[in-house]
């Protein structure tokens, strides 16, 4: 016990000191606990402590049926709740070998891209907030609110919608869906210049992010980073491109890759990804095929024994759902390979030698969602 407690504390010399950031701290966006060894303002060592919001979702899944456990995954990365649900549904569909109707595929993809847009907008706002600029947060929420309203109309909830079900989607899209999405895109395009004026072009913001939190490509690979974090370091890793699922094989979009690997590169990758998401939505919104929105599947899902894996691209990176089935109506084992869990590991190599202010910028650029790490 003594030993384990000692393991939990960083050792420091006389002219350094240990500071605990979190679990309650404004910039950790949740209950991340970091222990820093500081040399003045510079970070000499960093150690993350997790588990403050560990709910044992993987264990809970083992006692829930296949239909039931999907709703739990919205509570992992709550900002890409729909994409998490989608990943589970895709894995289950794969196991049952159900063909999802075209309409459902397109609706899911649209929803996933809207989720990504909403998530990135929240990230943009909170990045500004972390840097000390409060106003961007509210400007970001304006467009995000429109997206959430669209969700509310179609799915009934704003964040954890549980809209995906194995075989399709829960209910058909709202009659206003198409017109509202078009209006959203129009307004977003009209307002995107404000994002640039407030943060992107701001010299203070640029000096806070440029060259800060450099993550070389080799490190990003070795740390299994994914999503915008990896793409900003020059790794092509977009699952939507590599293994297109749902309707991603019929849309054209660009995988945004930057090579700088610093916070500003990650910022720019996400900003451009928003535009790419918009492109995907624009391509699909006019071509939602008619037909069923939900394939008929049995009330009790019993996938044949075996292993099933599905990966998707959430707003933060690659989410892998690994289901081991023993043929019963409950999964034998479910493993979620969550993007933030791996991205968190990149925090230490990035922030060694940086200042406390940089740590905040780095965390903002990683866009950590703590429940996704702890699960």
């Amino acid at each position: 016990m003594e030993q384990t407690i000692n393991n939990r504390i960083l050792q420091s010399s006389d002219d350094e000191f240990i500071i605990n950031v979190g679990p309650q701290h404004p910039s950790t966006h949740g209950v991340l606990h970091l222990q820093l060894r500081l040399d003045g303002e510079e970070i000499a060592d960093l150690k993350p402590f997790l588990g403050y919001i560990h709910r044992g979702i993987e264990k809970m899944c083992e006692s829930l049926t296949y239909k039931q456990f999907i709703y739990l995954t919205s509570r992992m990365d709550y900002l890409s709740a729909h994409i998490n649900n989608q990943a589970c549904c895709l894995a289950i569909e794969k196991s049952l070998q159900v063909e999802v109707p075209e309409r459902a595929k397109v609706i899911r993809t649209l929803m996933a891209e809207l989720t990504r847009l909403a998530s990135h907008q929240l990230w943009w706002g909170s990045t500004g907030l972390d840097m000390g600029a409060v106003s961007p947060f509210f400007y970001a929420f304006r467009e995000r609110e429109m997206i959430l309203e669209i969700f509310e109309e179609t799915c009934g909830s704003r964040l954890t919608m549980n809209y995906c079900v194995p075989g399709g989607v829960m209910n058909d899209i709202h009659p206003d869906f198409v017109s509202k999405v078009k209006k959203l895109i129009q307004q977003f395009k009209a307002n995107i210049h404000e994002y640039d004026e407030l943060l992107t072009g701001n010299p203070i913001f640029q000096s806070r992010t440029r060259g800060v939190g450099y993550l070389p490509k080799e490190d990003a690979i070795s740390l299994a980073c994914s999503g915008p974090v990896a793409r900003a370091s020059g790794i092509s890793c977009d699952v939507r491109k590599k293994e297109p699922y749902d309707a991603y094989d019929r849309v054209e979009f660009e995988e945004i890759i930057a090579s700088e690997g610093d916070c500003f590169a990650r910022y720019r990758v996400r900003m451009k990804e928003m535009l790419e998401s918009m492109k995907i939505i624009e391509q699909l919104i006019d071509n939602i095929p008619a037909g069923d929105y939900r394939a008929k599947i049995k009330g009790i899902i019993k996938p044949p024994a075996g292993e099933y894996f599905q990966r998707v691209e959430t707003a933060r990176g690659e989410l892998g759902v690994f289901i081991v089935s023993d043929g019963s109506n409950k999964p034998y084992r479910v493993k979620f390979r969550t993007p933030n869990f791996s991205n968190l590991a990149a925090l230490k190599p990035m922030s060694l030698g940086a200042k406390i202010g940089d740590l905040v910028a780095i965390m903002a650029s990683l866009d950590l969602i703590i429940p996704d790490i702890d699960r």
Binding site: I5, R8, K47, H54, A224, C237, G320, L344
Partner: protein, 164 residues
């Protein structure tokens, strides 16, 4: 398919007596726990494969044994490979692969926490999610919990009684 054959050949050249199986949609091989590090090192170094990314590391409790799965990916040629190993007798122990992939650090901590597999050579092996003094390893099948729904239902009944 051509790629598949080539991939199989390269694997065969490294591990002569291995059989290629499938795990989900990926190729999978099974290695002995004793030789897991050496095998993974080969996969990591081999210039044709170069599995430079450990995408995921997880374990499945199969009751008779614990199966550890290494999901490797190569960013050069896009190969995915799952390396399985079965741990039969307690205490479960494996050699840490942190020297090969740094992402293993957190994954191994999680597996240590959830399955009680200790990884020798890990720089900072501690319980990641559970408290230090937690007893048992939650994701093992022998770790009994009340059913989620039952658990809720109990509290529900309790509240119902209060109401009356």
């Amino acid at each position: 398919m051509m790629q598949q054959n080539g991939f199989e050949q390269i694997l065969k050249s490294i591990f002569p007596e291995i059989t290629l199986s499938k795990c989900a949609q990926f190729n999978a091989i099974e290695l002995k726990p004793e030789s897991i590090y050496a095998g993974l090192e080969k996969l990591h170094q081999q210039s044709d494969l170069k599995f430079d990314m450990l995408v995921c590391l997880t374990a499945v409790d199969r009751v008779t044994h614990i199966e550890v799965l290494y999901h490797l990916r190569s960013t050069f040629n896009g190969y995915d490979l799952i390396v399985k190993t079965a741990l039969v007798e307690q205490p479960y122990e494996l050699q840490s692969v942190v020297p090969l992939w740094r992402s293993a650090e957190l994954f191994e901590m999680e597996i240590y926490d959830m399955f009680g597999i200790s990884f020798s050579g890990h720089p900072d092996l501690r319980r990641l999610f559970m408290p230090d003094d937690w007893e048992g390893f939650p994701l093992r099948k022998s770790y009994k919990t009340t059913d989620v729904a039952d658990n809720y239902l109990d509290s529900h009944k309790l509240l119902l009684n209060q109401q009356e």
